[in-house]
Symmetry: C2
Subunit: 320 residues, 2 copies
């Protein structure tokens, strides 16, 4: 048995891009795109469509901007087999004019990531995208730090003022437990009568996959995942685990195994993602991974790098 409404979204290149300033080679992006299409994944997100006014093209790679030309090069000659193409806009780092009309674009879906405080910017962006002909989602980041009354108000606005397909619970800090997933899915469903619920989970506490399952059981139908968990800090729900769990026979795990072997694992030379003690400490204390990433990036000779007790004590002393 499976639920046909479920949509699996691969966001390897988009979320992984937070670990390398979106500097993936064209070859790597083409391989990921082909594998994900061959595996029958519903949606693939190839990066951000953020503004060049907000990010330097010298410091950031192609996949922070996802120009139409880059996306065409990444996808041409590859049979999508029905997999839709998504890009993400950050509500505070992208502008309406960054989008072309849908008929001039290879993009199908625009996902807008936002903090609760920027919800009006997000609503403006999704309404613009809908008007241009795209399907849309809103992804509410750092939900574990949102105040209930502000989150409730934002959800009511989304329900009334937008035509998005789905609204996401984004556990940016990897801080949620399964009981929290239940709480947030129930809350989102209560406020959003006409939208699907999505879940985007991080792995600071090795709960990315488990919390995605918890979301499925509670009714979420949009599920984000990345190849081998590649993503910010401790990474994401691993796509190969999610496909192994879902029973829809349209999925084929084997192209994912291939691309993990030939394209993702070699990236471990340059990018360090996955479970580690600093990320774990951030997760259990419900903190942005920035402090832990700074520790992880310290020179190996710096004795603070392995002084996890000091890191823990510092974080607990400075509650934010």
């Amino acid at each position: 048995m499976y639920r046909p409404q479920i949509k699996v979204v691969d966001c390897t290149i988009r979320d992984g891009g937070l670990m390398n300033n979106s500097k993936f080679s064209m070859e790597a992006v083409r391989k990921v795109y082909k594998a994900v299409c061959d595996a029958g994944v519903d949606i693939v997100e190839l990066g951000y469509r953020n503004s060049k006014k907000m990010f330097s093209v010298n410091e950031y790679g192609l996949w922070r901007f996802c120009d139409e030309e880059s996306l065409r090069k990444a996808t041409e000659g590859i049979d999508s087999k029905g997999t839709k193409l998504a890009v993400m806009q950050d509500s505070h780092k992208a502008f309406a004019e960054d989008l072309l009309p849908k008929k001039e674009s290879v993009v199908d879906i625009v996902r807008v990531a936002t903090y609760v405080k920027d919800i009006d910017k997000a609503i403006k962006l999704v309404n613009n995208a809908n008007k241009l002909g795209y399907e849309t989602t809103i992804n509410i980041m750092s939900v574990s730090k949102a105040l209930d009354r502000e989150l409730d108000e934002a959800l009511d606005q989304i329900e009334k003022e937008t035509k998005i397909m789905a609204c996401y619970i984004v556990d940016s800090y990897g801080a949620l437990y399964s009981e929290d997933m239940d709480f947030y899915v129930d809350k989102f469903k209560k406020h959003l009568k006409n939208k699907e619920i999505g879940v985007h989970c991080h792995n600071q506490q090795q709960l990315g996959f488990a919390n995605t399952i918890a979301g499925i059981i509670r009714g979420a139908n949009y599920l984000d995942a990345t190849l081998y968990g590649l993503g910010r800090a401790a990474g994401n729900c691993p796509l190969e685990l999610l496909i192994g769990f879902l029973k829809n026979p349209k999925f084929d795990i084997r192209p994912l195994l291939d691309v993990i072997s030939d394209t993702i694992l070699p990236m471990e030379k340059d990018i360090r993602w996955g479970y580690s003690i600093p990320y774990m400490v951030g997760g259990i204390l419900n903190r942005h991974p920035e402090a832990a990433m700074t520790l992880m990036n310290m020179d190996d000779k710096n004795p603070d790098k392995l002084n996890f007790r000091k890191f823990y004590d510092n974080l607990t002393e400075n509650e934010v």
Copy 2:
């Protein structure tokens, strides 16, 4: 809020010993023992009390046998702060005569690991241990492969014929999902009216910690975990995550952070545990990790080592 009945068991040296033939240095074992005691963990298992007739003392380290002398060296001069000392006997690799009377031993608890088919051997061992004055548990391995009618019969025997404190659900293959944990905890509780339920979870699918939480929610009170997840194949539920989750103020996570930094992380040079694609494939297909461990231990130049598709296809073709 927390449940005072919960007992946390550190089995780092015992389960980790499956990755290095139990060859830990005395210094490492003393550091682990001290940290776990300082952290307020209820029980620490320092290895197997298996028979020298079944394992060669030339091939296996001290912690496969846990002679009284070794255990005294590992613990002397360290304040246990109430942490109890456990050893494990394998029902098919240990004998009753391997135990001294409790009053001549530093051991408090004997845990007997068994497959369902060896349940009579396990019952003989725990009854012997109880008679000698120890507390006991039975840990049912590979539960995900057990046939229901055989498992039910074994549980009924345990209920009627033993005085163990707890009976464990051991997910040796890392194959269970949260709904399976619910199923097994309910089954164990139905048959075992007078024993606590334990959970020992593996991480092939990154669900070791999540399934331990699922067990807690369903009523399991004996919880196995290891430092940084060190254990067979993909490893175990990480102790530091479990302590972060449990709210009992008697626990202190900081000694665990210290020992992970100074003793466990350096072991990564010699032992490779944790999530990887071969283990994941074994987990989703409900297989013993042996085949995946063979692949992981292949020479790096062997092209089969990274041919995950072939490994997956081989395992799916040979259903066992």
